[in-house]
């Protein structure tokens, strides 16, 4: 174990961890947006919209995230989409995790007893009101933990953008492995930083879950 080397290179990893955090936050926000839209589409009254929602989930869960990322970043310019690596990373990963979140959010909504919706409708609420005031407040509580699992996977998934040269934790580790020939040390620094990010996120989600839990 080369402690001296670790002390010399760790500032680069701290900087890279900050990029990983930014990627994680932006990807989570985009993923939740795509997930909410996807779940709405999958639960729509219109068969065409339901089909589009199902196709979205099926394609993005059925193919590797790396391929989706390459398709967007390298193939995008051919269809007029020019993005820098960071933007492509956020959009590619966000739309990908959104497909998983679609299923999580949809699962939370359909887990609410049918009687709740029927009662709300009987009281004269519109479909939207029933969803907004009766179903979603209950469903949202159920979703927090499973969405936390999605976010945990997403944080580790941000490593993929190293393959399109975004200077985040994994890219930095790879670069220093190449220049120092000390893979274990580099793995250890970046691993500890990943686990710190995941640990803090996990505690945050557990806290949120406790705050809003009814039973």
């Amino acid at each position: 174990m080369d402690i001296e080397l670790i002390l010399k290179v760790y500032p680069y990893f701290i900087e890279a961890a900050w990029v990983t955090i930014q990627l994680s936050v932006l990807t989570t926000l985009l993923g939740l947006t795509c997930g909410a839209l996807g779940a709405a589409a999958r639960l729509s009254r219109l068969a065409v919209v339901r089909f589009l929602g199902a196709a979205y989930v099926s394609f993005f869960r059925g193919t590797p995230a790396l391929i989706q990322l390459f398709l967007l970043y390298f193939g995008g310019p051919q269809i007029g989409i020019q993005l820098d690596a960071f933007e492509a990373g956020v959009i590619g990963l966000g739309v990908n995790i959104g497909a998983y979140m679609t299923e999580t959010i949809r699962g939370g909504i359909i887990a609410i007893d049918k009687g709740q919706r029927e009662a709300a409708r009987t009281l004269g609420m519109s479909r939207w009101q029933a969803m907004r005031y009766v179903i979603l407040p209950q469903a949202a509580r159920l979703m927090i933990r499973p969405l936390g699992v999605n976010i945990n996977a997403l944080i580790k998934g941000t490593a993929l953008v190293a393959a399109i040269s975004v200077v985040e934790l994994t890219y930095t580790a790879q670069r220093f492995i190449g220049s120092t020939y000390k893979p274990f040390e580099m793995f250890l620094i970046s691993g500890i930083l990943y686990m710190a990010i995941i640990y803090v996120t996990g505690r945050g989600i557990a806290w949120l879950d406790r705050r809003v839990r009814i039973v």
């Binding site: 059925g62 390298f74 051919q78 393959a163």
Partner: protein, 218 residues
Amino acid sequence: MGLDFSVVPKYLDVIFLGALWTIAITVAAALLSFVGGILFAVIALYAPKPVRLPFRAFEWLFMGTPLLLQLFLIYFGLVQVGIDLPAFVAGVIGLGLHFAVYNSELIQTAILAVDRGQMEAARTLGLSRGQALRRVVVPQAVRDVIPPIGNNMIALLKDSALVSVIGVAELTLSAQLAIGRTYRPFEFYVVAALFYYVINLAMEAVLRRVERRIQASR
């Protein structure tokens, strides 16, 4: 620069060969992760403390870090200690170990869920602890977690794309090869995605059959 899929047929044989390698690496890593998962679960639950604690740390480290980082560690780390593995083998070991840890979590829960009476009965019949685990408890636990392990294996198929980064000529790298010759990234990544999608569908179909069979055997 518009899209032009007419260049694709010329490289289909390269892509197809890549798909075969993807299937090979997925099957090999899946087997390793299955056997490894059982082994890890037994170690995590039953090994003596000096073995168990460092092992838990290893599991924790593997679950908390990205697969890509682990692949770099294994590929470059083994070279550093003088073991020069072909990229394919390093890829199988990396993917296999990563998913073995996830499978081990599932199997541990399942082992703990097997009725205590099973172990007691086996011991009463004169089986040693190891025998009782191997012949009575673990087989029942494993049967219970085949469906979630199957889901892990489908995730493994998609994550196998990552080994292209350490130079394994599977589906993703084959697509990149064709792109290098034709400068048509969009077309070839779409083709690669289609191949993955079809393999994914096939795996899901197999998994559903296995699930039905397990349900029937109960």
